[in-house]
């Protein structure tokens, strides 16, 4: 019984870690993540959300070029919000 509970807890923890790592990887301020967002934005229908997303991702790129990773992340989050609208 104990073994089963520990095994279940281990599986849950592993799954949770994997999800968190995945999300963090997605939102890192890297060229790959910015490319992925560009691809998402290209697929959006034209409109306010797309304009906002484009503006935010351009700003994120600017911030990445200036090595301001915190600001880059902030703009990436805003771009993601616009993409998911």
């Amino acid at each position: 019984m104990c073994k089963t509970v520990f095994f279940a807890a281990f599986l849950c923890g592993a799954a949770l870690n994997s999800v968190m790592a995945h999300e963090q990887h997605r939102m890192e301020c890297t060229e790959t993540a910015i490319h992925a967002m560009h691809a998402d934005i290209q697929a959006m229908e034209g409109g306010e959300a797309k304009t906002t997303a484009m503006k935010e991702i351009d700003m994120a790129e600017d911030m990445m070029a200036k090595k301001d990773m915190e600001a880059c992340m902030t703009h990436m989050h805003k771009a993601m919000e616009a993409i998911e609208k």
Binding site: T32, H35, A36, H38, A39, D40, Q42, A43, E45
Partner: protein, 193 residues
């Protein structure tokens, strides 16, 4: 050639030289691997627009003349289409209540999220489902499915943007046949030959 006036000869020579130069640049770009085919590096916006416009026009022209069945609102068609969609399409195009999948995030160009609606007419949607789209990951389902099943999918697509996650789940559960069952005959045929 020698009968041509000098000004015309110069013009002709310049044109031929320009074409040759363009060909040489094109060949150098092509064989030099200048174009990056990686799916994690998006096209420039200009190239994306060009390809998207080519795709949209190609679909619109080829879908002309397709006769749309008048029973696309039939609940049986919609339910059948829901079952097909859940098995064939939802991994890439997603569905109400579904988070983005690894496939949907890795495809380039991105598969449209059809729960958000589509600009395609029913005839265009049918054409796309049947013939697929080159270099997008969209397969030609017409090679393995008959037209009636594909029209069921189109019937469902018209309904999809209005569905809540619960309604979607319930429709899929009410599908008269699963994709696996409807393909069983085809698979058996394939094994017989």
């Amino acid at each position: 050639m020698s009968d041509l006036p000098a000004s015309r000869r110069h013009w002709l020579f310049a044109t031929v030289a320009a074409v040759a130069l363009l060909c040489a640049i094109g060949a150098a770009a092509l064989y030099g691997g200048l174009f990056n085919v990686a799916a994690d590096v998006p096209h420039s916006n200009a190239l994306y627009w060009l390809l998207e416009t080519a795709r949209e026009r190609s679909i619109a022209v080829r879908a002309t003349g397709i006769v749309v069945p008048d029973d696309l609102a039939d609940p049986r068609r919609i339910a059948s289409g829901a079952g097909q969609y859940a098995e064939m399409c939802s991994h890439c195009h997603l569905a109400p209540g579904m988070k983005r999948t690894e496939i949907s995030r890795g495809l380039y160009p991105r598969a449209p999220e059809l729960r958000r609606g589509s600009d395609l007419t029913p005839a265009e949607a049918f054409w796309v489902v049947k013939h697929g789209i080159k270099m997008t990951g969209m397969p030609a389902w017409g090679l393995t499915h008959d037209d009636e099943i594909l029209w069921d999918v189109v019937a469902f697509l018209r309904k999809l943007p209005d569905l809540t996650p619960e309604q979607y789940r319930s429709l899929v559960e009410s599908a008269p046949k699963t994709h696996g069952e409807s393909m069983e005959g085809g698979q058996m045929d394939h094994m017989d030959h």
